[in-house]
Symmetry: D2
Subunit: 150 residues, 4 copies
């Protein structure tokens, strides 16, 4: 086996709330192989994560004001098929794992029905001095709620 299983390969749990975020591939995101550069996928899942939060009324800026910072401490992408210039992709996004001090967002990058890639990003919750701190209950509730904003 070349590549170990990816946590997002099975898709979201039946109980998970999800968002589907459309992304159009930019010219600048391709490389000389005439496919989307593998680093661009991190831009897509970051945009999807921000939009996932926005649709639930959550904003990084507000969290920072409450001294909760969420740096990325781990991320992995498993690439299954190439994306190409001008493709209309959808990033299926959900929360795959929660601990007292971290959130793991899981993603499938889709073109139509095809899964082009699976990804996750794990965010730690830290205070302004980079010390781990518990995620407030209200934040967690918001993150795990269904979409409420258009």
């Amino acid at each position: 086996m070349i590549v170990p299983p990816h946590p997002a390969a099975g898709g979201p749990a039946a109980s998970a709330t999800t968002s589907r975020v459309p992304i159009r591939v930019r010219f600048a995101e391709t490389d000389l192989m005439a496919i989307v550069h593998h680093g661009s996928h991190l831009l897509y899942v970051e945009e999807a994560r921000v939009e996932y939060l926005r649709r639930r009324g959550a904003r990084y800026q507000d969290w920072i004001a409450r001294d909760m910072h969420f740096p990325v401490v781990d991320q992995r992408v498993r690439y299954r098929a190439a994306a190409r210039f001008a493709d209309e992709l959808v990033v299926l996004t959900w929360v795959g794992n929660v601990t007292r001090v971290s959130l793991r967002f899981d993603y499938q990058i889709l073109r139509g029905e095809q899964v082009l890639a699976e990804a996750y990003t794990t965010l730690a919750c830290v205070n302004g001095q980079h010390v781990p701190r518990p995620i407030e209950r209200s934040v967690l509730d918001q993150v795990l709620s269904p979409e409420t904003c258009p």
Copy 2:
């Protein structure tokens, strides 16, 4: 446990050949948290991988001419501490795993003695029709050899 162990955490095997590639952080690679954006690390390890190969006389272009293409099929970065603008980093690079049809490059991104991140990228060997094909022995020998070019 928030983050599973990363294959590169233990460093290179005693038998591994390694390269140390210096990288200077660019202004554009930072984000509004005033740290290096987590996507920039993929640029650093890609530059390190290309340089690792160059120091062994190997070039992607030559492989493509022999119908061996090496798309990235999997990558993971475990972030331990932030890199910052103008930091002088070193990417310690080695081959962490080899199969008949794939190579996994492992990396530690260092600032002085400190490990800022561990990373790997797995490259599959495919032909022009994206069908997996064995890596030629001469290519493997070159990839696993010590540095020969300045």
Copy 3:
């Protein structure tokens, strides 16, 4: 005077056809000054140009198939005010200049009514050997036509 006048400062000519392309600022596009990095504006106007063309049924891919390539030979951005994370921008896009062998796209990057930046990109028309060649009449007609695709 610090900065010479920018061709797009006056906005589109009364006779020009225009497109308004929405762009949401990504986190990765910011820098440590907590504003959008000045290089990101090139991504925005490129996305806007592609979308301008798409809404007129034009695609780079089709042009290449007819041996018309359009490399960027000149670009300039005049920055008036900072864009910020999560801003919803609009890129007002039009063709500002046409010669026998080139097109200049002009842009204003807007946040609401405010002009954050003026930009242009000049594309030369060349064949596969990079020799300048006339833009076909049908291509020009398409580029200068009103929006037809949703």
Copy 4:
């Protein structure tokens, strides 16, 4: 004439102090035309500008501490020939224009003797409230001095 003259086309004045900054093209900086994407040139000249300053003992961070901020207010690149993956480029860098409240850095991006592109970036000097303020004499002297740091 398709493209107006670029200020950096003539090269540095005889009296100008210059720096030559080497840059290796990264894989991720290419696009599907198999050339360096035109946006990547802004990364190169920014790296060159920072290195130009570093060789004169000047650092953005120190200027910020003295309430002098230098946002980019204008930039233009004139592209003459394509750069390609793994090219070893040199960015010839000098100060092309100075006013009481701004600096214009000029650049030629070279591959060997060939000029691939000419560029400039104009930086305004502002205080923390984004109000233009004079550049301190000591800063100007440093910026216009010859290289002193290795």
